[in-house]
């Protein structure tokens, strides 16, 4: 019994060592040496597109096609509503917030933005020109 075990262990070790000699084992750090600077990623710019982005799903929250760095959502106020509210959307030619945004948690329809939907950024995001991490031919259910 002992002989078989030692034999198998020896076999496994030798295979492992020979393999590692051929393929360099890499940690998550990559092939950078410990004393060199880490690789910085490429800066990507936000995509600003007229008429918005194509959605992948039917009721997907639309993606933000304009700059938002000067906008602020705080307890006191929501600057997104300066263009997207019921009152302003026509004048500013911006998409109106959807009907679902007026319903409170008890299902009542309100005549102003529900507090459930107050923080726009929880669902709506700006887009950046990053390529797919893994090449794929995904098509959404539209």
């Amino acid at each position: 019994m002992k002989k078989i075990i030692t034999l198998l262990t020896g076999l496994a070790l030798s295979v492992g060592i020979s393999l590692s000699a051929v393929a360099e084992i890499q940690s998550l750090r990559g092939s950078l040496s410990l004393d060199s600077d880490s690789q910085s990623f490429e800066k990507r710019k936000q995509i600003k597109q007229k008429d918005g982005f194509e959605r992948s799903y039917k009721i997907q929250p639309p993606m933000i096609p304009h700059a938002t760095d000067k906008d602020k959502i705080t307890l006191k106020g929501n600057t997104c509503m300066r263009c997207h509210s019921e009152k302003n959307y026509k004048k500013e030619k911006a998409p109106r917030i959807g009907d679902s945004h007026y319903i409170d948690r008890d299902g009542n329809k309100l005549n102003k933005l529900s507090s459930r939907r107050y923080f726009c950024n929880q669902c709506h995001a700006t887009q950046v020109n990053a390529e797919q991490l893994v090449e794929n031919n995904f098509v959404g259910a539209k």
């Binding site: 600003k48 304009h66 006191k76 600057t79 004048k91």
Partner: protein, 207 residues
Amino acid sequence: MGKLTKWLSSTLVVGMVLGVVLWGGFNWSLELTNTEEFCISCHEMESTVYQELQETVHWSNRTGVRATCPDCHVPKEWTHKVYRKVMATKELYHKMIGTIDTPEKFEDYRLTMAMSEWTRMKKTDSRECRNCHHFESMNLDKQDERSAERHDPHVWEVLDGKEPSLTCIDCHKGIAHSLPEGWEEAVENDPILSAGLEAVAEEESSE
């Protein structure tokens, strides 16, 4: 030279030198009150609006061209500047009686202060904005679609020499400090601040 003329000329020279020193001293001390350090020496300003400013584009941006307190709140022209300084005694009085010396008091007063500043800017056609932003020189091609569309009609107004229907502060409220609660209603109900804005609303809805 007679004794009188000698005395007169020396008095004149002394007077001129003294005048330069005193007038220069006056202006120098006046300018000291036009600095960011002076403004934030009051905790009412330093802990509230100054903190809010640091989140905005006028504090830090791509080019590093920025504005501090006096650039927007103190006129550059001497006459307007001195007038503002005289009116500032009101602020000294309120500092003394502590009208806004706690965060709660400040928040209660925020709308009033904002409306007063907005009215001042509206009345002067955003004079302080124009200290740095020369509207006619704005290159609309370099702006985002959203901004260019809105600036365009007003650039043409200025170039055609017409009376501007809107001024910077009409749309750019909250550019430097937090917007007070209930500001939209207050602006609508104010005759001075809503001038020009309802005209835009009517025009757009009839298109």
